[in-house]
Structure formats: C-alpha cells, structure tokens
C-alpha cells in the first residue's frame, strides 16, 4: 500500500476528526452498516463525569443520587482507579456520541468507529430498540421531563419531589412493559395530553374508590373483589393509574420515570450483543484502515493495546474477576460467527449448518437484528468459544453440602453450558419476579404483591427497605408474599 496515512502524530484537530470520520464512515457503508446521522460532541473530562452521573443522558432532571454518582466517579478518576471509559453514546436520532479532548487521535478514531458506527447501527437495527424506543423523541422527552420535574420542585418543594423520585428509582426495574408495545413518545403530544390526563386520571381513581351507591350492588362487588383482574407486572404503571391518594403531579412524575425505564430497558437486555457488535466493528473498521495504509503502525499499536484491555476476560479465580465481561464474550461470539462463515470446520458444519460457509456480512447482520442476549447466546454460542473461554457451569443448591460442576467445555457439556449461560442472561431470572396480586378494595385498601419464586431463591436483605418505598407510592398498608411453584405462601413482608 502506498497511500499516505491520514496523520502521523497523536494530536487531533477538528479537521483530522472530520477526515477520519469520513474514512471510517466510507468503510462502514461498504460493509453495509446502516446508521443514524452522528452528532459527535467534543467535551472535557469534567463534562464526561457530568454525563456519567446522569446515566449518560445529555439532559436529566436533578436528583441527589446523580450527585452521589458524580462524587464517586470523580473520586476514582482523580485517584487514577479508573480511566473514564471512552465511549458514551446515546440511542437517539441523530445519535449523540462524546469524544474527550484529552484523548489521542487514535483513541478518538477508536471511539468514532465503536460508538458512531458500531453502537449507532445496533440502535438503529436491533428489533428491541425498534420496538421499544423512539430515538427521534428521546432528547425532547428528557427536556420536557426535566422541565416538568423542576416545576414540581418549585411548586411542592424539593424534598417532596426527591422522596417520590427515590421510590420510583427503587422500582424502576418494575416500571417496564415486557410484552405490550408502549405508544411512541412524542413531546408535543405529551404536553398536549398532560393536562387532560391529570383530570382524567383523577376521575378514574375516584371512580374506583368513591363508588357511592352502585346500581347493581352484587355485580359491582364482584367486579371490584378481584382487583386487578390479572396480576400486573408493571408496578409503576399500576401505581400511576390506581394509587388512590396520589396527586396528579405525582402520577405524572411516576410516568416520567416509567418512560425512561422503558427506554433504557432494551440496553439492559442486550449488553453482550451491543458491546460485542460495537467492539467487533471498531476492530474490523480500523484494521481495514490499516490495510488501506490510512493509519500508521504506531496508531495500530496504541489501538491494539486499548482493544486488548477491553476484551480481556480474567479467569474465575482471578482477583480481577467480576463475572463474564460482556465486551469479551460479545466480541468473541461476533468474530466467531465471521470465522464460521469464512473458514468453517467440520464441527461448525455439524453444529451450525446454516451458518458455516454463508455470507458473513448477511449472517452477522441478521444476528444483530433479531436477538437479545439470552436468545443470541442460545442461538450462536459455539463449542469453539466455549472452549476458548473454558466455560463451565456450577450448581449452588442450598439443600446440598457442596457445589457441583454440572457441565464443562467438552462434548457432553456444550449444550448444557450454552443453555445455562443463556438463562443467566435472561433478565427475568436475574431479578425477582414481583407482581401486583390483589387490592382489598372493600376493606383497608391494602395492597398485596406476590413474589413468584424462581429456583427457590429468596428475596435479599433490601426487601424491608423496599417495602417502605412501595408503601409510599401506594399510600396504604402493603404486603408482599413469596410464593413457591405450587402457590404456597413461603414468607411474607408487611409495611404499614
């Protein structure tokens, strides 16, 4: 290759950023990556910490917990315990990514490849994001929510709003619809309907509680006896619609937290895929640049050093081990799919007849679009990757004195390990399943939640604290029953 490299030194300038971006974009388009337009913002490390503290969002409502987050990030950063991660990217249209001014040209190019073409195309292509989030509306919605919450603070005092937010944050993971498609967000519509909603909600709630003289006594009794008619898994939604004592503004705040939780939900379900995809593409794109002679050997050395750090997987008995590194697993799986397409072995042909020898770009694109972590692993984790990672599954059963190794990276264990790892990435298994079970509409208005046990696992030590938050939102006595598979109540918590 006799082409001139784009730059030699480690200094970046805006002209260089544009040049690199244009080249990376050209190569990405050649591989068929479909992205939102990029909005790339150059910021200082101080501003990076700000972004970090509010879940990476460009605007967010004020809350003490973000201050806590900031202090802890600042501390580790100043101490050198952590470098600020160099990628923060927002699922929005245009897709917002941040570059830190302290970074070298190499790092900037890496971030552009990783975030602006990797993550960006994932956000745009993956079915979960398409179904559950509205990239067009999110930034406007955040602006609206910050404005609304600030207004509430002025009207009702900071403390009242912060307390309410505390309770909402605590239940944020229980504020998502897993099966119902939420209506798309739209800023204008939100504001337009907000007023109506306040009045309407209040009237709905009143209807439930303040039934004066029912026309048909008997039927009415039966109607309210089983409330809610079906167990409700979205706790925040249930409170927003049915908690009797909430003021309209409080319902609106719950709704805001719910909407944001819903927006973030797909990211929690696609950690391995999303990071694996972005890492695979930064690796592929920058290597392609090197082949074309656009970057120097020095550039590659610096890039590879950073890349290797990101995809390192410490073994289970290392002191650096904190679970499986989604970057490492995701990158390994994506690269493995390409390998199976380009150089399939007999093993691959036996395990993945459709993939072995197919067009890798199409196969990888299909994988990115149609899966989430658990199904992606179930579908694509190959014996090769299981062997490379030396994966093994351990059963910890409290009825037995010892742990048992249930499967390892051998012929007998591949399917079992794959199944177990897939289950492990199922959010439904990670979080206790808790649903609204019953409201005593005729008596003391108490609320009963049910925890449906999975694998006999009990609730953790935070439960009494959590009950206080549930109590605050519901406004009356709350009860939580842990039930086993047969529906027998094993344990219950109360908060009056």
């Amino acid at each position: 290759m006799s082409r001139q490299p784009l730059s030699e030194g480690s200094e970046w300038t805006f002209e260089l950023l544009k040049t690199y971006d244009a080249e990376i974009g050209r190569i990405a388009a050649g591989y068929g990556l479909d992205t939102y337009p990029n909005q790339i913002e150059v910021i200082t490390s101080e501003q990076m910490m700000d972004c970090y503290s509010s879940t990476g969002m460009p605007v967010f409502y004020p809350h003490w917990s973000f201050g806590k987050q900031f202090l802890s990030v600042e501390k580790s950063y100043r101490r050198g315990y952590m470098g600020l991660a160099y990628e923060l990217v927002i699922n929005s249209n245009p897709c917002i990514a941040y570059l830190m001014e302290e970074n070298s040209m190499t790092m900037q190019a890496l971030v552009i490849a990783h975030a602006c073409y990797g993550h960006n195309s994932f956000f745009k292509g993956n079915y979960l994001f398409k179904t559950w989030t509205s990239a067009d509306a999110i930034v406007d919605y955040l602006v609206f929510s910050r404005h609304y919450i600030t207004e509430c603070e002025e009207r009702h005092g900071v403390e009242a709003v912060e307390d309410l937010l505390d309770s909402c944050h605590a239940l944020m993971n229980y504020g998502v619809d897993r099966y119902r498609r939420p209506p798309p967000l739209s800023m204008a519509e939100e504001q337009h309907r907000q007023k109506e909603r306040e009045e309407y909600l209040q009237s709905q709630v009143n209807d439930l509680w303040l039934r004066t003289v029912p026309r048909k006594e008997k039927q009415a009794v039966e109607a309210v006896q089983n409330f809610p008619p079906e167990p409700e898994e979205n706790l925040l939604y249930f409170f927003e619609k049915n908690a009797p004592l909430l003021e309209p503004w409080q319902r609106e705040v719950i709704r805001i937290v719910r909407k944001i939780a819903q927006y973030l939900y797909p990211q929690r379900q696609t950690k391995v895929m999303n990071e694996g995809w972005a890492t695979f593409w930064h690796y592929t794109l920058l290597n392609r640049m090197y082949e074309e002679g656009l970057v120097t050997d020095g550039f590659m050395l610096e890039f590879l050093q950073s890349h290797t750090n990101v995809v390192y997987q410490p073994p289970y008995n290392s002191k650096h081990y904190s679970g499986i590194n989604p970057y490492a697993l995701g990158f390994a799986m994506m690269s493995d799919i390409r390998r199976m397409c380009e150089n399939p072995t007999d093993e691959d042909k036996y395990w993945f007849p459709e993939i072995a020898g197919s067009d890798w770009i199409k196969t990888l694109d299909f994988a990115m679009r149609n899966f989430k972590d658990e199904s992606f692993i179930a579908q694509y984790l190959s014996p090769q990757v299981i062997r490379d990672f030396k994966l093994f599954s351990v059963l910890d059963d409290d009825t037995r004195p010892e742990l048992e190794i249930t499967g390892i990276h051998d012929e007998a264990g591949y399917r079992y390990v794959r199944h177990t790892l897939s289950e492990q990435n199922n959010i439904g298994n990670q979080e206790p399943s808790i649903q609204v079970y019953r409201v005593d509409t005729r008596g003391d208005r108490s609320l009963t939640l049910r925890h449906y046990q999975h694998d006999r696992r009990p609730l953790g030590e935070t439960t009494p604290e959590m009950m206080k938050h549930v109590r605050r939102l519901w406004g009356f006595k709350v009860r939580l029953e842990t039930v086993d598979k047969t529906g027998r109540v094993m344990r219950s918590y109360e908060c009056d």
Binding site: V42, L71, P314, K390, D396, H409, P458, G460
Partner: protein, 420 residues
C-alpha cells in the same frame, strides 16, 4: 453524515446542582465527618478540601434483589481442573461467585468515600461556628488582590483611553505612512526646480512633474490624522496584595481540668482566628504556648494532645509570650495576635499578675487579644481581672463559651473592622 460540535466551552458543572443536593441530604453525616477531620488537622492546615467517608448503607439506593439461598447455577470462565460431576466445597461467603449480580459502583463497600472541595469543607466548618454571611464570604475568599497598572494595551474601555499615548501612536503612524511619499515628492520637487531654473524647460515634463507632485500631496493628505489603530488604553492587572506578616500566639491551659471536649472547642477558636489571619496576611507564624504551673512553647501536636496535670498559673504563659515577642517578633515588623483559651481556673493570687502583664507588656504590642473561657458557669478571679483589661483596651475581647456557636462573638469587633 456526521456533525462535530465543540462543547468544551459550555458551562461545566452540570452536576453542581446534584452535588449540592447530595451534600444537603446527608448533611448530618458529613458534618460529623468534617468535625473528625478538623480534629485530625493542624490549625494551619485548614484551607483545603477533605476526603469524607460516610457509611454506604446510609446512602444506598435499594432495589429488589435475590438473597442467598435456593438453587443457583452460574457459568464461569477459566476452568482449569474441573470435570463434570465434580463436587467442590463451598467457598467462604457462600455462592458460586457473584457471576450474575450486577454490582453497583459504591455499593458493596462499607464506606462511601468522596472528596469535599475546599469551599464545601469550609462551609461545613463555618456552619458550626454560626458565622454571619458577610464574614463567611470574607473568609471563604481566596487571597485578596489589588489591581495595578501594567502598561498599555491596544484595546480597552473608553474610560481607560490614554490620550497622550494615543496621539503619540498616531503621530508615529502618520510619519511612517507619509515618509515614502514625502521622499518621492521632495525628489520630484528638486527635479522641477532644476527644470524651471534651466534655459529651455521641457514643458510636458514639467506638466507631468506637477501632476505627480499634486498626486503625492493628495496621498500625503489622505493619511488619516487618527485611526482606531492608534488608540492606547491603560491596562490594569490583578496582583496579590503586598503581603505583611502576622504572628499568632495560641495560649492554652492544659491542667487536668481541661478535658477533650474543652480542648476541641479551643481548637476551633484558634482555627477561626487562623483562618481570619490567613485572609489578611501573606505570611503567618503560629506560636503555641501551653501552661499549667509553668509555661512552655511547644509544637501543635503537643499543644493539643499531650496530657498534663497539675495546678494552673496563667501568668507564666503571658510572661513567656512577652518574652517571645521581645526576642523574635518586634512589633514594628509584626502584626501580633493573641488567643487564649482556659477554663478559668487559676491561683487566685496569680490573677492580678496577669492583669499587670497584659496592661504593661502585652496589650501595647498586640493588634488584638481574644480570650475565651470554656464551660465555666461561675467566673473566678481571672475573669474579673480580664474584664478590667477590656475596659482599658478596645482591642481586647473576652467571652464565656459553651458551644462552637459562641466562639464567633469574640471576634466580632475584629471582623467588623476588616469587612467594613
């Protein structure tokens, strides 16, 4: 397809609000941590931030979680020796490794550690001392600056316009711009004179010369008399105030009756004086004198922390202070401040000595002398004598104190004088 935006000049500190919220919410715990930090720090080292620790459980944000128990199956990487069916004893702490528990940053550790900035730290200290706002502002200020002339600049506000300088620049510019044309014109004029003086003048040439001279004269005329380019403005820069030096004497009674609480109150009293002085003087020396029946000059560590028992002779400390002033701090060169803390115990016959010492040697040479008597509900002879001193000297202050909030009034006069 990509748009680049430079956000670096945007206001930083988007998180300032959230940070304040956090500090507000955990005020109680942070205050306690600050008090501990003050106890650990030296009097002369109060002017910086601090690492604060508060129990993580106080500030945790709970979520529903699984606890230990039941049946868990976890996939782990890096197998070396296991085969299927192996039985392994449970490691300490139970569980087969926290394979799928997302750990929250800051959670899981017992202490949440973060850094308070200098201003935040001082704020917490001042709150304890119940300082008035004006004083807080003054103390939290960084070193004072005064503005000083620093030559001239080419741009500035009209009020700083320096007329003479500007005219001089204009003159220089006019000379410089006109010079080439003037030279050319002079040459042409000489040629013209020569031509006119000759016997058969070349009329066309004369005409041409005249036109050219005319043109040059216009060109010279066209150079403006004054141009914005000539303007010069007075420039001023902020320079640190010229420093003067101060010495602060801390006198404390360390007899058996001064317990830890009294000492920590005394420490705050010295601290406040030190802060005040550090705002007004560039260089400060601190002299610690402790006494029971005899006085000694000691370092800060011994001053606050070593235990002594015995009787109390206050005059010994005043005596020593006078002597140190004579030897090392001539009052012509030094601003001298005295701060004394005691619980009011003294040999009755010694108190009049104290009166004499103060009146004759100390008060004439100090800027200010402050005395606090800690947790003493019945004033003794010493207090009586000191009250007499206060009648004579307006720069002598005394105050009985029972809590940190009572310390400031001692300095009221002092602060008033400075902030006015």
């Amino acid at each position: 397809m990509s748009q680049f935006i430079d956000r670096r000049l945007n206001p930083k500190n988007k998180s300032a609000v959230n940070r304040q919220r956090f500090l507000q919410r955990f005020r109680g715990q942070i205050k306690k941590a600050v008090a501990d930090a003050v106890a650990k720090r030296s009097v002369t080292d109060i002017d910086r931030g601090e690492n604060i620790q508060i129990p993580a459980k106080d500030i945790s944000e709970p979520v529903f979680r699984h606890g230990k128990g039941g049946r868990r199956e976890v996939v782990q990487p890096g197998n070396k020796e296991f085969v299927s069916g192996d039985k392994v004893p449970r490691p300490e702490g139970g569980g087969g490794g926290g394979g799928n528990q997302a750990s929250n940053t800051g959670e899981g550790m017992d202490e949440f550690v973060f850094e308070l900035s200098r201003d935040e730290f001082l704020d917490f200290i001042f709150e304890d001392l119940e300082l008035p706002h004006l004083v807080k502002r003054q103390l939290a200020r960084e070193a004072a600056f005064k503005s000083q002339r620093a030559g001239f600049t080419a741009d500035g506000s009209p009020s700083n316009l320096h007329v003479v300088r500007s005219m001089r620049e204009a003159l220089a510019r006019r000379m410089a711009l006109r010079a080439p044309s003037k030279d050319a014109k002079r040459e042409l004029e000489e040629e013209l004179e020569a031509l006119l003086a000759s016997d058969n003048p070349d009329e066309t040439r004369i005409q041409a010369l005249r036109e050219e001279i005319e043109r040059l004269a216009k060109k010279i005329e066209a150079v403006p008399f004054i141009d914005t380019f000539d303007l010069r403005f007075r420039n001023r820069v902020q320079v640190p105030k010229p420093s003067t030096q101060a010495v602060m004497f801390c006198l404390m009674d360390v007899s058996g009756s001064m317990d830890e609480t009294k000492k920590s109150l005394a420490k705050r009293f010295f601290l406040l004086l030190y802060l005040f002085l550090s705002r007004n003087y560039e260089k400060i020396e601190v002299v610690f004198i402790r006494h029971h029946t005899i006085a000694m000059e000691v370092n800060e560590q011994d001053f606050f922390y070593s235990r002594e028992t015995g009787g109390t002779v206050v005059s010994s400390a005043l005596e020593l202070m006078g002597q140190v002033i004579r030897e090392r701090y001539p009052s012509a060169d030094w601003n001298i401040y005295g701060a004394q803390a005691s619980d009011g115990d003294n040999w009755p016959e010694d108190s009049s000595n104290c009166y004499d010492l103060l009146m004759d040697t100390i008060m004439p040479s100090v800027q200010y002398y402050a005395y606090i008597e800690i947790n003493n509900h019945e004033p003794h002879s010493l207090w009586m004598e000191y009250e007499k001193v206060a009648e004579h000297w307006p720069n002598f202050a005394l105050q009985p104190i029972y809590g940190a909030g009572d310390i400031y009034p001692v300095f009221r006069e002092l602060f008033k004088k400075q902030t006015a």
